[in-house]
C-alpha cells in the first residue's frame, strides 16, 4: 500500500518531495506473523566450549531450542536483553558448527532444521510501496535481520559441514522445505536473497533427489512471474543458480530442459523489469546454446518474436544478447537464421534512438561476427544496404553517421561488385520512386476527372482497377 495517498498525488507538486522523503526514511518491514505467545525472557546458557564434552550435545540442543523464540524487531525497545542473548547464542552456534567436527549427530538434525524453519520461514509482508521500482527505489529491509542473518549463516555452515549427511538431512530438508525457501526469494531485502541463492545452490548440489523438484518449482515461479503477477524480486538470483545448473546438464539435453528454454526463458524476455535480470538471463540462454547449437535457430526466432517494440532500453539489451549468441554461434546455424536476424538488425541501425543504432552498429567491431558476415555477404548486404545507405544521409546523430560510414566501408571491401550494384540499383530505385509519386499524383487527378464523367459506380471501379494494373505494369 502506497505511503503516498491519492489526495496528495493530485496536486502534482507534492509527489516528488513525498517520494524523496519516503526514500530518506529507511524503510523496514518484518513479517514474523503474530507470535501467539508473548516472548518469554531468555536467560543465558553456559558457553558450549566450557561444557564438558558429554554435556555438549544436550547444551547444543538447548541452545537451538532457545533460538526458536521469535522477537518483534519493529518495536526496537522491547526485549532488548533477550534479543541480545539470542544474537550471541546464534553467533556461538554458527561458530560451533563451522569449527567443530562430530557435532552433527543424527538427533541434532530435527532440532537444527526446526530452529531454521521457525526463524526464516514466514510470509513476506506486503510491500510498503506497491509501485516499488527495484531500479529506482530503496528496498524495504528485513527488520529482524540481526537474527535472521545469523540463522542463514548457520544454515549455510550446517550444509557445508564436512560431517553433513544428506541421507539423514533429506528427512527434514524435503520438498516442503525447498518450497518455502523458494518463496523467500521474493524478499525485497537483497541481503536475504543473496544468502538464499548460496543456500539453494548448496541444497541443489547435495540433494540429488530434490533437483528435478527444484527446477520444476523455479519453472512455476517464472511462469507465474511472466503470465500472472509480473512481480517477483528474486528472478535474478534464481537465474544465477540456473546458469550453473544448465552448465551441468548432460548431453543430449532432455526434452524437459529444452522446453524450459523455449517456454520459460525466452518468454522471460517480455518482462517489464528485464533490466534487473537480463545479464543472468542472457547467460543462461548462451549456456544452452553452447550445450546444444541446434537450439540456436528457435532461440533467435523466439527473441525476434518478442523483440521490443517501444522500449529502447530493452532493445539495447536484446542486441547485447544477440551479440553474445553470435559470439558462440556455429556458421551452419548462422546461415539458418541470418535473414530474419539481419532484417531486424537493419531496422535497429535505422532506429532514431542513437543508443539502439549504436549498439547494432557495434556488431561490426566484432571480429567473429565480421567473419560470419563476410562469408554470407551476398545474403546480408542486400538486406542491410538500404538502411545503412539511408541513415548515412539521414540520421540526426553524427556519431551514428560516422559509424555507418565505417560499416559501409567494411561491407564494400567484402564485396565490391555487389556493393556497386546495390548502390546503383538503390539510386535508380529512389529515382523511380520519386517519379512514381509524381505519376500517381497526376493519376489521382485523372481518376477524379474520370469520376466526374462515369455515372455508374461499377465502371468507376473498373477504371480504378485498370489504372492500378497499369501502374504495376509500369514499374
Amino acid at each position: 500500500m502506497s505511503a503516498i495517498s491519492a489526495s496528495e498525488k493530485v496536486d502534482g507538486f507534492t509527489r516528488k518531495s513525498m517520494r524523496k522523503a519516503q526514500k530518506q526514511r529507511k524503510s523496514q518491514g518484518s513479517s514474523q506473523y503474530r507470535t501467539h505467545t508473548a516472548p518469554v525472557e531468555l536467560s543465558p546458557l553456559p558457553q558450549l566450549k566450557d561444557a564438558p564434552s558429554t554435556e555438549q550435545q544436550e547444551l547444543f540442543t538447548q541452545k537451538l531450542q532457545q533460538c526458536c523464540m521469535l522477537f518483534d524487531f519493529l518495536d526496537s525497545v522491547t526485549d532488548l536483553k533477550s534479543k541480545e542473548i539470542k544474537r550471541a547464542t546464534l553467533n556461538e552456534l554458527v561458530d560451533y558448527v563451522s569449527t567443530n567436527r562430530g557435532v552433527l549427530v543424527e538427533p541434532a538434525y530435527p532440532e537444527i532444521t526446526n530452529m531454521i524453519c521457525t526463524n526464516i520461514f514466514r510470509v513476506l509482508p506486503p510491500s510498503d510501496n506497491p509501485d516499488f521500482d527495484p531500479e529506482e527505489d530503496e528496498p524495504t529491509l528485513e527488520a529482524a535481520w540481526p537474527h535472521i542473518q545469523l540463522v542463514y549463516e548457520f544454515l549455510l555452515r550446517f550444509l557445508e559441514n564436512p560431517d553433513f549427511q544428506p541421507s539423514i538431512a533429506k528427512r527434514y530438508i524435503d520438498q516442503k522445505f525447498v518450497l518455502q525457501l523458494l518463496e523467500l526469494f521474493d524478499s525485497e531485502d537483497p541481503r536475504e536473497r543473496d544468502f538464499l541463492k548460496t543456500i539453494l545452490h548448496r541444497i541443489y548440489g547435495k540433494f540429488l533427489g530434490l533437483r528435478a523438484f527444484i527446477r520444476k518449482q523455479i519453472n512455476n515461479i517464472f511462469l507465474r512471474f511472466i503470465y500472472e503477477t509480473e512481480h517477483f524480486n528474486g528472478v535474478a538470483e534464481l537465474l544465477e543458480i540456473l546458469g550453473s545448473i544448465i552448465n551441468g546438464f548432460a548431453l543430449p539435453l532432455k526434452a524437459e530442459h529444452k522446453q524450459f528454454l523455449m517456454k520459460v526463458l525466452i518468454p522471460l524476455h517480455t518482462a517489464k523489469g528485464l533490466a534487473l535480470f537480463h545479464a543472468q538471463l542472457a547467460y543462461c540462454v548462451v549456456q544452452f546454446l553452447e550445450k546444444d547449437p541446434t537450439l540456436t535457430e528457435p532461440v533467435i526466432r523466439g527473441l525476434l518474436k518478442f523483440w521490443p517494440k517501444t522500449c529502447s532500453q530493452k532493445e539495447v539489451m536484446f542486441l547485447g544478447e544477440i551479440e553474445e549468441i553470435l559470439d558462440v554461434i556455429e556458421p551452419t546455424q548462422f546461415k539458418k537464421i541470418q535473414e530474419p536476424l539481419f532484417k531486424q538488425i537493419s531496422k535497429c541501425v535505422t532506429n532514431p534512438h542513437f543508443q539502439v543504432a549504436e549498439r547494432a552498429l557495434y556488431f561490426w567491431n566484432n571480429e567473429y561476427i565480421l567473419s560470419l558476415i563476410e562469408e554470407n555477404i551476398d545474403k546480408i548486404l542486400p538486406i542491410m544496404f538500404g538502411s545503412l545507405y539511408r541513415i548515412s544521409k539521414e540520421h540526426w546523430n553524427p556519431t551514428i553517421v560516422a559509424l555507418v560510414y565505417n560499416v559501409l566501408k567494411t561491407l564494400m571491401e567484402m564485396n565490391c561488385t555487389l556493393f556497386d550494384e546495390l548502390t546503383s540499383s538503390y539510386k535508380a530505385d529512389r529515382q523511380r520512386k520519386r517519379k512514381k509519386t509524381s505519376i500517381i499524383s497526376s493519376m489521382a487527378d485523372n481518376i477524379s476527372a474520370c469520376n466526374n464523367e462515369c455515372e455508374f459506380r461499377g465502371s468507376r471501379h473498373l477504371v480504378l482497377i485498370i489504372i492500378i494494373i497499369w501502374t504495376f505494369m509500369l514499374f
Binding site: 500500500m1 510470509v123 506486503p126 507465474r224 503470465y227 500472472e228 461499377g458 473498373l462
Partner: protein, 597 residues
C-alpha cells in the same frame, strides 16, 4: 485460399464487389501486423462474402493454421470467433469453430487464452445437447489432459458451461476431470481450478456439492501456496450459499475459520475483503457465533493491509448483523476495535475507516451516536492525514439524518471551521461543497453568525478552484436565502472587492456578479452591480477589462433595454477599440450577442 485468389475473385464475372474482400483476405497474410490485425477485425465481412460453405471449408482451416502469429492478432481472432455462429451456418455447424478456438485456448499469453475461453463459453450455449457431447465435451477433455499447463488452465473455465446439458455418464467424467485439475501439480492450474470452483459448484447437483466440491474446497483451502488458498475463500461464498444451513457448520465453517487465521496475510486480506458476502452466505446464527470474533481479529490484524480491508467493511458488517441483538454486538464487540482503529498507525487504515464510520450512526441511533461516535468523528476530523479528514466531511450527511444538524454543527462546527482553513485545497473544497446543505439546515441567522465570514474568505483564496467553488457556493446560498438577504449581506462585500489592489480579487467580483445576477434579479443587478462593472472597464489590467466585457454579455439579458442602450453600449464600444486584442475580441462578441451593433 491461395495467393492469386485476389485477381480470380475480382476478375470473375467482373464482379468487383468481391475485390475489397480479396484484399482483406490477402492482408491476413501480410507481413505488417497492423494490416493483419485490421483484416482479422473485419473477419465477419470476409466470412459473409465467402458464404457459410466456404467459410467452413476454407476460411476456418486457414485461420486454424495461422495460429502462430502475434498475440495481438490472436486476441482479435479469439474475440471474432465467438460471434461466428451465424457465419458458419448457424447452431447446426457451430462446432466448426472449435478447432481454431481450441488452439487459441492453449497459447501462452493469458489475455488470448482467456478470450478464447470466453468465446468457447459463448458458443457452447449454441451447441445442441448432442453436439455438446460429440464435439464440445471431447474438446474440454483434451484441454484438461493437455501436456502444457496452459490448456489445462483453459479447461477449468469450460466445465461449468457444459455440465448442465450432458448425460449423467458424461457428467461423472467432467467431475472427475475437475477433481484431477484441482490437484494438478502446477500451481497455475490449481489457481485456475480454485477460481472456478464456486461457479462449478453452482451447476452441480447438491449431493455432488456435498460429496465432491467440499473435499476439493477443503483441499484447495489448505494448499501449500497462499495464492491458491485465497481463491478458495472466494469459492467459499458460493458454496455456502448452495448448502442448507444445517450443513454449513460441519462442511464449510472449519475451513473458513482456518482461512481467517491463515498465516499468510493475503488469505486473511481476502477473508476481510469478502466479509460481507461471507456473512450473508452463512446466515445470522453463524455470524453471531463465529464471524463476530473473526471480524474482531481482522480489525486487529498485524498487517495494515488486512486491517484496512476489514475497516472498509465495518458498516456493511454491522448493517447485516441480525437485528435482535445488533446494537449489543456492535457496542460490546465492534466499537472497541473501531475506537482503536481511529488512532491506527497506518493512514490507509484510518482513511478506510473514515469512509464508512459515519454510516454507523444510522444503525446505532441518536444517543449512541452522540455519546460514542461523535468523539471518534471529531478525532478523525482532526487527523493529520488529509484523506481521513476528507472522507469524514464527505459523509457528514448520514450523521445529519440521525442527530440533526444543530447537534451536529454544535459539536462539529469548530472542527469544520478549522478545516475551512486547511492547508490542503481539496479539503477546503470538500467543505465548500458541503456549505449549501449546512446553510439550508442551519437557517439564516445561525449561518450569518458562524459561517458567513468563512464563505467570504474563500473568495480570496489563493487557489483558483477554491475561489470558483466559493462563487458557485454564493449563488446557491442566494437561491436558498433570497435576494433581500443577498443585498444586505453578500452584495456589499462582493462589490467592495472591486477596489482591491489584487487584480485576481477584482476579477472575483466580476465572477460573483456573473453568478449572482440572475438570482438577485433585475433591480439589484441594475442598481448595484452594473455601476461597479462599468467602472471596472477602466481597469489598468487587460484581464479585468475583458472580463468586464464578458460580464456585461452575461448580465445584459437581465437589464432593461434602457440601461443597455445608455450605459452598457457606450462602454462596450469603448472596449471594442481597446489596445488589447482580447479585450477588443470579447467586447465585440458581447456587442453582437446583445445585438447592440
Amino acid at each position: 485460399l491461395r495467393e492469386g485468389e485476389v485477381s480470380k475473385m475480382a476478375g470473375a464475372d467482373g464482379d468487383d464487389s468481391l475485390y475489397p474482400i480479396a484484399v482483406l483476405i490477402d492482408e491476413l497474410r501480410n507481413e505488417d501486423v497492423q494490416l493483419r490485425l485490421n483484416s482479422i477485425k473485419k473477419l465477419s465481412t470476409i466470412a459473409l462474402a465467402l458464404g457459410v460453405e466456404r467459410t467452413r471449408t476454407e476460411l476456418l482451416p486457414f485461420l486454424t493454421d495461422t495460429i502462430y502469429d502475434e498475440d495481438e492478432v490472436l486476441l482479435a481472432l479469439a474475440e471474432q470467433l465467438g460471434n461466428f455462429t451465424m457465419l458458419v451456418g448457424g447452431p447446426e455447424y457451430v462446432h466448426c469453430l472449435l478447432p481454431p478456438l481450441e488452439s487459441l485456448a492453449t497459447v501462452e499469453e493469458t489475455v488470448v487464452r482467456d478470450k478464447a475461453v470466453e468465446s468457447l463459453r459463448k458458443i457452447s450455449q449454441e451447441h445442441s445437447p448432442v453436439d455438446l457431447e460429440v464435439h464440445f465435451e471431447p474438446l474440454v477433455k483434451r484441454l484438461a489432459s493437455g501436456d502444457w499447463f496452459t490448456s489445462r488452465t483453459s479447461a477449468c473455465g469450460l466445465f461449468s458451461v457444459c455440465y448442465p446439458r450432458v448425460s449423467s455418464t458424461v457428467k461423472a467424467e467432467i467431475r472427475q476431470h475437475f477433481r484431477t485439475l484441482c490437484s494438478d501439480d502446477t500451481p497455475m492450474v490449481r489457481r485456475a481450478a480454485a477460481s472456478k470452483l464456486g461457479e462449478f459448484a453452482k451447476v452441480l447437483e447438491l449431493e455432488y456439492v456435498k460429496s465432491d466440491i467440499i473435499s476439493l474446497f477443503t483441499a484447495l483451502a489448505s494448499d501449500e501456496q497462499d495464492s491458491v488458498r485465497l481463491l478458495a475463500v472466494e469459492a467459499c461464498v458460493s458454496i455456502a450459499t448452495l448448502l442448507p444451513q444445517e450443513d454449513l457448520e460441519t462442511l464449510v465453517m472449519p475451513t473458513l475459520r482456518q482461512a481467517a487465521e491463515d498465516k499468510s496475510w493475503r488469505v486473511r486480506y481476502m477473508v476481510a475483503d469478502k466479509f460481507s458476502e461471507l456473512q450473508k452466505a452463512v446466515g445470522p446464527e453463524i455470524t453471531k457465533n463465529d464471524l463476530v470474533p473473526a471480524f474482531q481479529n481482522l480489525l486487529k490484524d498485524c498487517e495494515a493491509e488486512v486491517r484496512a480491508a476489514a475497516a472498509n467493511k465495518v458498516k456493511e458488517f454491522c448493517e447485516n448483523l441480525p437485528e435482535d441483538n445488533r446494537e449489543q454486538i456492535i457496542m460490546t464487540h465492534i466499537l472497541p476495535c473501531v475506537k482503536e482503529l481511529v488512532s491506527d498507525t497506518n493512514q490507509h487504515v484510518k482513511s478506510a475507516l473514515a469512509s464508512v464510520i459515519m454510516g454507523l450512526s444510522t444503525i446505532l441511533g441518536k444517543d449512541n451516536t452522540i455519546e460514542h461516535l461523535l468523539p471518534l468523528f471529531l478525532a478523525q476530523l482532526k487527523d493529520e492525514c488529509p484523506e481521513v479528514r476528507l472522507n469524514i466531511i464527505s459523509n457528514l450527511d448520514c450523521v445529519n439524518e440521525v442527530i440533526g444538524i444543530r447537534q451536529l454543527s454544535q459539536s462539529l462546527l469548530p472542527a469544520i471551521v478549522e478545516l475551512a482553513e486547511d492547508a490542503k485545497w481539496r479539503v477546503r473544497l470538500a467543505i465548500i461543497e458541503y456549505m449549501p446543505l449546512l446553510a439550508g439546515q442551519l437557517g439564516v441567522e445561525f449561518f450569518d453568525e458562524k459561517l458567513n465570514t468563512l464563505c467570504m474568505a474563500w473568495l480570496i483564496d489563493h487557489v483558483y478552484a477554491i475561489r470558483e467553488a466559493a462563487t458557485c457556493n454564493l449563488m446557491k446560498l442566494v437561491e436558498k436565502f433570497g435576494a433581500e438577504w443577498a443585498q444586505n449581506t453578500i452584495v456589499p462585500k462582493v462589490l467592495g472587492m472591486a477596489n482591491d489592489p489584487n487584480y485576481l480579487h477584482r476579477m472575483t467580483t466580476l465572477f460573483c456578479i456573473n453568478a449572482l445576477s440572475k438570482a438577485c434579479g433585475q433591480e439589484i443587478t441594475t442598481k448595484q452591480m452594473l455601476p461597479v462593472v462599468l467602472k471596472m472597464s477602466n481597469d489598468q489590467v487587460a484581464n479585468v477589462r475583458f472580463n468586464v466585457a464578458k460580464s456585461l454579455q452575461k448580465i445584459g439579458p437581465i437589464l432593461d433595454s434602457n440601461a443597455l442602450q445608455t450605459e452598457v453600449k457606450p462602454v462596450l464600444e469603448k472596449l471594442a477599440s481597446d489596445t488589447d486584442m482580447d479585450v477588443k475580441y470579447f467586447a465585440q462578441e458581447a456587442i453582437s450577442v446583445l445585438a447592440l451593433a
